[in-house]
């Protein structure tokens, strides 16, 4: 009974169990990465060369840079496991607290953009699949080919120019909402969701006015990437004999379409995982352009001030996010296409 349960459920338990291993390996990578940054972090942070040996040592300990490399690694891993990433020596702020309020804000924008991009992509691709000669389908194909052609910051600048400067449809790129408004009480940590929950309509409409343009820029910039992938895999899946056999066996139309989409979707899901990484990265640029406080701003600040601990924490957080996203991608794909589960043998004549 237990053995049978294990055999049927093993595929996802094993995959989930891999996450801590991946996190551990990435933590070690981050450890070495920040130590490759040129210059002595202690001196950079102190801002001068004439430190007493005592002062030097104190800063070294706070940064986790004292002792042998092995000792440093142990201290570092200890801090990561206990989630105690320290207090920035530059602004005295708790690194963890900073990330705890900035990360949801950034993820929120990236997620909204991704959901809209996926919805638009699916609708356009399904339409194009059913009506390949329609002008809308031709536009979708053209748009998909433009993938990656226009960098996000160009779209961002152009968007601000057109919709704020010329047309005045968007609010000034000065943050998440108008200055002078108070943020919604923190319940989930996601600013837009909190505003929704607080039913503060003034705040909410201000947020909508400020956020639609940056989200649009992210969507327009990222949708072609997944559209290109989905269109190609849909074309393959439609031409597949499996589609013809489904049709010939007399099933309803929607079964045929779902069958095509399910066979076509794993590549898109994988692409979405990568897209989420791009969106987090794109959010860095968008946050700068629109002066939205979030992870991007934090990273730029940390690099600019050589804030060793903040940079380290930023890298760890981004790595953790990406690993969690890849976990989700793998689980979704193994659910959609069981041939992707570990230990599944498929004859090589497909």
């Amino acid at each position: 009974m237990i053995a049978r349960l294990w055999r049927s459920q093993r595929w996802w338990i094993q995959r989930v169990a891999l996450l801590p291993v991946h996190l551990f390996l990435f933590a070690i990578a981050v450890f070495f990465l920040v130590r490759l940054i040129p210059g002595d972090p202690v001196l950079i942070i102190a801002g001068s060369d004439d430190l007493t040996a005592d002062q030097y040592e104190r800063i070294e300990v706070l940064l986790g840079l004292s002792g042998s490399l092995w000792h440093q690694l142990m201290v570092f891993l200890g801090r990561v496991v206990t989630l105690d990433l320290g207090r920035s020596l530059i602004d005295g702020q708790d690194v963890q607290e900073q990330i705890a309020w900035r990360l949801p804000a950034t993820i929120e924008i990236a997620l909204i953009a991704m959901v809209i991009a996926i919805a638009v992509t699916l609708l356009l691709c399904i339409f194009a699949m059913l009506h390949p000669h329609n002008p809308v389908a031709r536009f979708a194909a053209f748009y998909a080919r433009s993938a990656g052609a226009i960098p996000d910051f160009v779209l961002g600048v152009a968007g601000i120019l057109v919709f704020y400067t010329v047309l005045g449809w968007a609010a000034a790129p000065t943050g998440r909402y108008d200055a002078g408004l108070r943020p919604a009480p923190r319940t989930t940590g996601f600013p837009f969701l909190d505003a929704l929950l607080s039913s503060d309509t003034v705040l909410l409409s201000s947020m909508l006015a400020h956020l639609w343009l940056p989200v649009l820029v992210l969507v327009v910039g990222s949708a072609p990437t997944i559209m290109k992938v989905l269109q190609r895999s849909i074309e393959h899946a439609v031409d597949d004999e499996a589609t013809l056999f489904r049709i010939a066996s007399g099933v309803p139309r929607h079964v045929v379409i779902v069958s095509v989409l399910r066979r076509a979707s794993p590549t898109m899901v994988t692409m979405c995982g990568q897209l989420f990484g791009f969106l987090l990265g794109g959010a860095v640029i968008i946050e700068q352009l629109f002066a939205i406080p979030g992870m991007g701003q934090y990273a730029v600040q940390a690099v600019g001030r050589a804030d060793f601990l903040a940079l380290q924490a930023f890298l760890l957080t981004v790595a953790a996010c990406v690993l969690v996203v890849f976990l989700i991608v793998d689980l979704v794909n193994m659910t959609l296409d069981p041939r992707r589960r570990p230990g599944v043998m498929v004859e090589g004549n497909a």
Binding site: M129, L130, P132, E241, F245, A248, G250, S259, D337, V344
Partner: protein, 283 residues
């Protein structure tokens, strides 16, 4: 049931001057031309010819499954009750009502990501109103009917978890469970070894006979026609070179090409004479 036959149209297939062309980078390629065929209801017709002679193109044209890049023209093309010449072409085609297809390799034809139970179940429910639970029971019965001994396990399995012979049986069950009027089988056993393919051909002919389904079977092995078809159509380079009563054509071929095909046919034709009464086994 044979009793239904009287209710059906007299001819399952009526095709005259069928031409199939494909759009290729260097212009239109004509794969089939001047193809005419009439099959009366309940008949078993074999189309034979070497690889590339246009057999599959005919099949897919009759089943309405050719891709957008193919052009189909005909003066008459009536399949069961559908006039193919009046059908709009679609990126994702619709089924020609009453026509099922069996392909050469079930590994490609079955949907790799759904279980056999789900695929067979949706085919049984079709557009009708059978309940899910009832469809499940019928699915098990159909698997037994095509000679699968442990239907419960196979229903839960996905195609890649089955042997080649079992997959082929599953495909036959899916194709026939909607009780089609016409079954088009495109080299249904060419990918299998000799004994297995004889078993499966007997299965197909006996099931279609039970259901009163007209059978249009494609093969490149003229020896197989003797036991499994009433009429034979010989194709060469996209054209019909000879057609007629199977016995007559095989006994006294009028076209040189048919004679040549017969001369180099493998021994399957003789083999199945001894096996006509063999029980349908499990692969």
């Amino acid at each position: 049931m044979p009793g239904d036959v009287g209710l059906r149209a007299a001819n399952a297939v009526e095709v005259a001057d069928l031409r199939v062309r494909y759009r290729t980078p260097d212009g239109w390629f004509t794969a089939v031309s001047d193809f005419s065929l009439t099959v009366s209801s309940g008949q078993r017709v074999a189309i034979v010819g070497e690889s590339g002679s246009g057999k599959s193109s005919v099949c897919m044209a009759l089943a309405g499954l050719l891709p957008l890049g193919a052009a189909v023209e005909a003066t008459t093309a009536r399949i069961i009750e559908t006039d193919l010449t009046a059908r709009p072409t679609r990126a994702i085609p619709y089924q020609v009502p009453g026509v099922s297809v069996v392909f050469q390799n079930a590994m490609n034809a079955l949907d790799p990501v759904w279980t056999v139970g789900s695929q067979l179940g949706t085919a049984i429910r079709g557009r009708g109103a059978t309940s899910r639970a009832r469809a499940r029971v019928l699915a098990g019965e159909w698997l037994e009917r095509v000679g699968i001994r442990d239907p419960a396990r196979v229903l839960r399995a996905r195609p890649y978890e089955l042997s080649g012979g079992m997959r082929q049986r599953v495909m036959i069950a899916i194709a026939l469970c909607s009780q089609p009027e016409l079954l088009i089988a495109d080299e249904p056993t060419s990918a299998l070894d000799v004994t297995l393919s004889v078993d499966l051909l007997e299965l197909i002919t006996s099931l279609t006979a039970d259901l009163g389904t007209t059978l249009l079977m494609i093969t490149h092995d003229i020896g197989l026609c003797r036991a499994y078809s009433d009429r034979v159509v010989v194709m060469h380079r996209g054209r019909v070179v000879e057609q007629g009563d199977t016995e007559q054509v095989l006994a006294a071929p009028s076209a040189d090409y048919t004679a040549a095909l017969l001369a180099c046919a493998p021994s399957l034709g003789q083999l199945n004479d001894h096996r006509l009464t063999t029980m349908v086994g499990v692969s």
